[in-house]
Symmetry: C2
Subunit: 328 residues, 2 copies
């Protein structure tokens, strides 16, 4: 099968209408038409075999995840997904693989009304590069730089789930199958918090998504906002503990310490980390409820620079929880 | 050097203002703000080592080419470049290589006022994925589907130069250094026809860029427009012959036949192939002159489907000149 047949068979769908897409796949360029007053939010992510996914990963899960990590960037700005491009390097034409990949990709794309508008295919070591486009009212995008002293620090979901699954798959610790299965789903099919992200516009002050680890990503937000924070390690770990406790018989785990490391430094979560004024607590909880996404208050922004980690009693917690670095 | 240092050192520049970019590198998303009445043209290309470039290619030339092939897609729609994202998989951190790559990339970007607004870096087999954004007045983008029976077929520059250089570098034929050097520059540092593309808006009926071979790409335009064409093989080959004749002592070439194959089927040209009404010939020539880009009239669009290749006397020319297929 040639390149053009490949595009036609797996990646061409009926021409989209409206939703900001004026022209989709098939010409030299796609044409996007954001509505008046809207800005276009853009993000690119590249996924490489052996680094971002196992070579034997279910291709449908991979199709899901490749788009999910990009939608998570849109969510982190409060943008509504419109469209994406897909560039794909494939070592060989494997129709079964492509079919699975396309199924997982389009299932998530359709769930968010996000249209494939173009891309590229080539032979080469397996590599997926997606660029995603969303729209956000001009001036309302949530940036990393908006945190203010006195803000609460919030996080969605249960950070650490992906890392807990990864460690079990790598043999770092053991998890019973009943506990591993849902965690593995979080690792392989992360849910971008798109609905919550949009509801936090004009409510949160600053936001990013947790891809490299909770504390590592928080430190980026603090630097961009020129502020510091105190984080309650117990509060940040609690969603993961509560979740893991629902499975029985965790073995080989150095228990609390491992769960805490997963929660504070585990990557691949794609949860939203944001700050908002304490006066907005009820509104934040309402936004979370309306988008069916749990949120947890884990700390406070302070004027003094630096990231201070404390326990429930306010005593300092020692430990290194650096963000995941792809070249470390 | 970590991923974040890498981005900071080579790919972060002062925050851009205006020209459609509201927020550049450094947050979860970039923000583009097309002017009222403008659509956003988007294109993605992925370049893989060993397939799109030699592993020992000058990194500055590679930086140039990676962006050039994307700008060529904008040119083919008549769009004005605004911004791009860069996703980069690198087998190792080679600062000298990165410095050269960034220099070549930004030199071309700056020449076109095209701002780097985001992207991704990861470890992995060398892979470059660029997504480029341009603006075009709503409804004025030049598509592949607009050709009409009776239109002239035009091409810019001298298609075949890149293939002629590639063949010499591969040892398929020999070229004297004085002839090879400028052709190699065309292969390694193609000039996207951005100025011509914009001047052809409201003048040409259909347009695309020649990346896979003149006749192969023309056949895509014909299919999209549901028309056919007769192409004068001599007229299409003439710019390359005129150019090559300026060098002396071409050896090992089966002369005319090789030049014709390079012109009609050679890839990597990034010239514009377009159709326009015969009444617009003077206007097309004026657009070409104003953008300092030579153009040649090589054929005519006809209602009857198919691509007919003739010589200067109108007699059919035999031969296979299929487009380059990355999986062939």
């Amino acid at each position: 099968m040639g390149e053009f047949d490949l595009i036609a068979r797996y990646f061409t769908r009926p021409a989209p209408q409206g939703r900001g897409v004026a022209l989709g796949v098939g010409d030299d360029c796609a044409l996007l038409a954001p509505r008046p007053g809207m800005q276009l939010a853009v993000s690119s992510d590249m996924l490489v075999e052996g680094r971002h996914f196992f070579s034997d990963v279910d291709p449908a899960a991979l199709g899901h995840k490749a788009l999910a990590v990009n939608l998570s960037d849109l969510a982190a700005c409060g943008a509504r997904p419109l469209a994406f491009t897909l560039a794909l390097a494939l070592p060989r034409i494997d129709e079964r693989w492509l079919q699975g990949f396309a199924q997982g990709l389009f299932a998530l794309a359709d769930a968010h009304g996000c249209t494939l508008v173009g891309g590229d295919t080539t032979a080469g070591p397996l590599n997926l590069c997606i660029t995603v486009f969303g729209e956000v009212p001009a001036g309302q995008a949530l940036l990393r730089s908006g945190a203010r002293a006195g803000d609460d620090v919030w996080v969605s979901g249960a950070p650490g789930q992906a890392r807990l699954a990864l460690g079990a798959l790598r043999g770092e610790w053991a998890l019973p199958e009943a506990l591993l299965a849902p965690l593995r789903t979080r690792l392989e099919r992360p849910l971008p918090r798109v609905a919550l992200g949009q509801r936090l516009r004009r409510l949160a002050h600053a936001m990013l998504d947790v891809s490299d680890g909770l504390l590592g990503d928080l430190s980026h937000l603090l630097a961009a906002s020129s502020v510091g924070a105190t984080v309650d390690a117990n509060a940040a770990t609690h969603p993961l503990i509560a979740d893991s406790a629902s499975g029985a018989g965790v073995t080989g785990l150095s228990s609390m310490e491992t769960l805490r490391r997963c929660a504070l430094a585990g990557g691949d979560d794609y949860e939203l980390l944001f700050t908002a004024a304490p006066a907005q607590r009820a509104a934040v909880q309402a936004a979370a409820a309306a988008s069916a996404t749990p949120v947890t208050r884990i700390g406070r922004i302070e004027a003094a620079p630096g990231l201070r980690l404390v326990d429930a009693q306010g005593a300092p917690v020692a430990g290194q929880f650096a963000g995941y670095d792809h070249f470390a």
